[in-house]
């Protein structure tokens, strides 16, 4: 059982992430991976390129982090503490995929874990890391099996371990499986979790690139981000950047996807800047009898958009300007008969439950918003509840909390009220107005 792909291609120059997938969608083993150019990028880079060359390539590629934050991977790598004054650190692959509506990393890890391993070796080389950890969520059982299998194939072939592919570079990767909780995906919480602690985020600075796991320089990147690295190393940053062909300044292709009330949910690799309309079309459109009401462009922590936004290019800039975030780039599609109040309540329940509890606005504000939303959902909202929700969303917004979890929760709440205020108003009972239905006698107030 694997995710449906809207379209496929075996062209490595246009589909760097998915061109090697098998027709039967099974596991691409080492032999097949190598037959399809696999680990060529490692061989060539370790032989011909310096870490700085690779980082330059990455910057030119303008590969923006695919875990939802969109930070340039090349810039991040250029800030890692390297050199003789610094100990060799770690590459940590963020494979904690739990963002509501996101199912892309699962597919990459289940079908082609060698691509991730190759990307991590290259990231390790560029950032002077001694070891890599794949932080995989505990529920991804099949991915864990496939990754372990790929790791041992790679070790046996001398691709991991001492003297990677016969070079002077030593690097190994270990699979770490988690034990639940969304907050583990926040990169500093993830490092705490890796160290065997509660997954509370850490304060920044210092950034992980300076001091991360066990105080060593640590680079945390998403699965999909790392899977892009081999092709960039092989074909160059300019080639990668140009893949998005003028549709977007963000470089490359991305695994997009659609879930929710559509005919054929699934995934597809397309250039950055494809539109929501194109994706919705590929998913067969809305299920029969349904019309599109609203959509989330990239997971539960992104803002609601309207049908008119379907024509926007899916890239970090344009979606940001429309008041949302690209996030993970997997659309959640909502039909006309769905109450936005209920859906927002569901999202805020998720964020309230998954708060790590460290800071007050998030720990107390989110349950409060759930309480208000539940009342409005039942038609028992009080006057002032909507303003209170807006003010709560503001108080947990960017810069007000210890990590980005709470601002992520604020975004769907704020945009739901912005676009669908009438639905919230319909859930407010008006005791004040009813009580004053009779004229108020002069002098009585």
């Amino acid at each position: 059982m694997t995710s449906h792909l809207f379209s496929t291609s075996t062209n490595g120059e246009t589909h760097p992430l998915t061109w090697r997938l098998r027709e039967d969608r099974g596991y691409v083993d080492l032999a097949e991976f190598q037959q399809k150019d696999g680990y060529e990028a490692v061989r060539i880079t370790l032989r011909d390129l310096s870490p700085d060359d690779l980082i330059e390539n990455m910057k030119t590629a303008n590969l923006r982090g695919r875990g939802g934050g969109g930070f340039s991977a090349g810039v991040k790598w250029s800030l890692t503490a390297r050199g003789d004054d610094h100990p060799r650190g770690y590459i940590v692959c963020n494979a904690d995929e739990m963002e509501p509506g996101t199912f892309k990393d699962r597919m990459l890890m289940e079908e082609i874990p060698h691509l991730l391993i190759e990307g991590m070796i290259l990231a390790g080389y560029a950032n002077n890391a001694r070891m890599g950890y794949i932080f995989l969520r505990g529920e991804y059982v099949l991915a864990a099996e496939r990754i372990e299998r790929a790791l041992s194939e790679a070790r046996e072939a001398g691709i991991l371990g001492s003297k990677v592919c016969g070079s002077d570079f030593d690097f190994d990767i270990f699979l770490h499986t988690g034990a639940g909780r969304y907050i583990c995906g926040e990169e500093t919480a993830l490092i705490n979790s890796l160290e065997g602690r509660r997954a509370n985020p850490r304060s920044k600075p210092p950034f992980p690139g300076q001091s991360g796991a066990w105080g060593k320089p640590t680079v945390v990147n998403n699965v999909e981000t790392l899977c892009n690295v081999p092709a960039i190393a092989l074909h160059g940053g300019e080639w990668y950047q140009a893949l998005s062909g003028g549709r977007s300044d963000d470089g490359g292709t991305k695994i997009f996807g659609v879930s929710g009330r559509v005919k054929r949910p699934g995934l597809v690799e397309l250039p950055m800047g494809v539109t929501g309309a194109e994706l919705l079309d590929m998913a067969g459109g809305m299920r029969d009898g349904l019309e599109l009401k609203t959509w989330l462009p990239g997971g539960g922590s992104t803002g609601f958009l309207l049908p008119e936004h379907l024509e926007l290019p899916l890239e970090f800039g344009a979606i940001g300007k429309a008041g949302s975030r690209l996030g993970t780039g997997l659309m959640t599609v909502v039909a006309h008969n769905q109450s936005v109040v209920s859906l927002t309540r569901n999202l805020e329940e998720f964020f309230a439950r998954e708060s790590c509890g460290w800071c007050t606005p998030c720990r107390d504000g989110l349950p409060w918003s759930v309480k208000l939303l539940r009342a409005i959902e039942r038609g028992e909202g009080e006057d002032g509840d909507i303003d209170m929700l807006i003010s709560l969303a503001h108080d947990i917004g960017p810069g007000k909390t210890f990590c980005a979890h709470a601002p992520g929760a604020a975004m769907p709440l704020e945009t739901a009220i912005k676009h669908f205020r009438h639905e919230f108003e319909a859930g407010i009972r008006h005791p004040a107005r009813e009580a004053h239905a009779e004229p108020i006698p002069v002098g009585s107030v």
Binding site: E99, P100, G101, R197
Partner: protein, 185 residues
């Protein structure tokens, strides 16, 4: 209304564990790690810079065999890793897939995130509830099933989705529930 991940276990289990908070550390419940568990934990320790990092792995190793983490298990793990049992307790209570109370032979994790919410999570959850006579966070009287909520399972294209033990299922229609549960005795 509870905002936390619902406690696992039925009323009986909840009562039994009330007096068992870590304040009572020192009592060992006569718990001993098997040689196999101990060596798996020691192997795990070798993958990190220090033993503490193996704490989550150690909890999972013990839970895999015993189903849940008792007070005695917390203390035994803290002995092997050489870190305070209160730290192990802190970790064990933080993560949603570590159970500090007994659970049923089969654990059902029902995804309640947005895509599954849109494709019928509530109906699915209610169907399981009425089939088994338990709510989220509870265990059937015969200790066969525990039902818990879980974050997006990364199977949003197959929603509503759930996992039973290590098996992913989706989409699961309310009408499928009975036959599906039959497969787990």
């Amino acid at each position: 209304m509870t905002m936390d991940t619902p406690a696992t276990g039925n009323t009986r289990a909840s009562k039994a564990s009330q007096g068992n908070l870590i304040a009572s550390v020192g009592r060992t419940d006569d718990f001993e790690l098997t040689d196999e568990e101990r060596s798996e934990i020691e192997h795990e320790m070798g993958h990190y810079e220090n033993p503490r990092a193996a704490s989550i792995g150690a909890l999972k190793i013990v839970q895999k065999r015993r189903g849940w983490i008792s007070d005695g298990a917390v203390i035994a793990i803290s002995d092997v890793l050489g870190i305070p049992s209160s730290d192990i307790e802190g970790v064990a209570t933080f993560y949603s897939l570590i159970f500090r109370q007994p659970v049923g032979r089969h654990v059902i994790l029902v995804c309640d995130s947005s895509s599954c919410f849109l494709t019928g999570h509530d109906e699915l959850r209610d169907a399981i509830s009425s089939e088994l006579g338990i709510n989220l966070g509870q265990t059937t009287g015969d200790d066969r099933f525990t039902m818990l909520p879980v974050c997006c399972l990364g199977a949003c294209d197959r929603g509503p989705a759930l996992m039973i033990n290590e098996d992913l299922h989706g989409p699961v229609e309310p009408g499928d529930v009975s036959a599906l549960l039959e497969r787990y005795s």
